[in-house]
Symmetry: C2
Subunit: 191 residues, 2 copies
């Protein structure tokens, strides 16, 4: 998505430790109009796949997933990162290693919100090592639901998580794929 690549070049900052900071529009401040455009692009890519539900993980995946869900006309379910008093009943759960926080955490979804006949689109704001998406795939498998594909706003191609999923046969669509980046520049993969 050309407009996203341009926005990353204009507003993104590469910080030490291979962190791409896009908090001005994606994951702390959210550009709602631009997010709806990203949602439209997800709708263009997956609109004919019979998606019944989007699965994402709190917190920074929610806005992107919401925009896609609003455009596709389907609900969004978000996995929670810790048990909550509001999560009653039985749950699906998976363990995820966070590269950002360098620790494992559990993601949890109430069994009520994913059914075996669901056709899930799994979305997140970032796809790097693929750990969060792998956790969501595990939850989808526990529910017996069909996964029609995975998507991200920004994929860090050089971290390999997206390509590993593609090798396993999943359809993975990222609106921008960064093949390399450092403080002097960002190189996007041709799509």
């Amino acid at each position: 998505m050309k407009a996203l690549e341009e926005k990353i070049l204009k507003e993104g900052k590469v910080l030490p430790g291979n962190v791409l900071k896009v908090g001005s529009f994606l994951n702390q401040q959210i550009d709602t109009a631009f997010s709806m455009e990203m949602g439209k692009e997800i709708c263009r890519l997956f609109g004919d796949c019979g998606v019944t539900k989007i699965l994402t993980v709190e917190a920074s995946g929610i806005a992107f997933a919401f925009a896609a869900g609003a455009q596709l006309g389907v609900p969004v379910v978000f996995a929670k990162k810790h048990a909550s008093a509001n999560l009653s009943g039985e749950t699906y759960a998976a363990c995820v290693y966070s590269y950002t926080h360098q620790r494992n955490y559990e993601i949890v979804v109430s069994k009520e919100y994913i059914q075996a006949d669901d056709r899930l689109l799994i979305l997140d704001d970032f796809l790097a090592n693929g750990n969060a998406i792998n956790g969501m795939l595990e939850i989808a498998a526990q529910a017996g639901a069909t996964v029609v594909g995975c998507g991200a706003a920004i994929e860090k191609g050089y971290q390999g998580g997206g390509d590993a999923l593609r090798r396993r046969g999943y359809r993975v669509e990222s609106l921008a794929i960064i093949d390399s980046m450092n403080e002097s520049g960002i190189v996007f993969r041709k799509q």
Copy 2:
């Protein structure tokens, strides 16, 4: 908002401990189309207030705030509940007591995303004791920004947080206000 009251009556469940479970459409599974209708209602209420930005707190506030931001045509900033590797630079911070989790936590916003000339609308999915909104008001004050009002999808009127804010002079708009609830029924405040 009549449609929200009806949805709460239809889909909500009152659990022991005064927990209203609305995970089917508001805070675990998100009904994107209905959220956009709630966003329209926020837009009707605050559309003439010159709002420049919506401030909310992760995670369950994000979808409601996003829908309102998309309808008002303004960005959303969400406060994070813990420090993150993605939060560089200086931050505004406030301490919030969580009734749900019975502990204090810190909410943090990067100083880049709130300016003194911002006119903030503070939104959350629930308004109960008002602790989260009070934390966001503190962050707004640290930034020197103007608060045009506060809003929630669902206010637990009997917990008093909304009325305390109104007594302090804030405009508080909640799309549904619950004056009492127990396992046999829910009573809404006339608005």
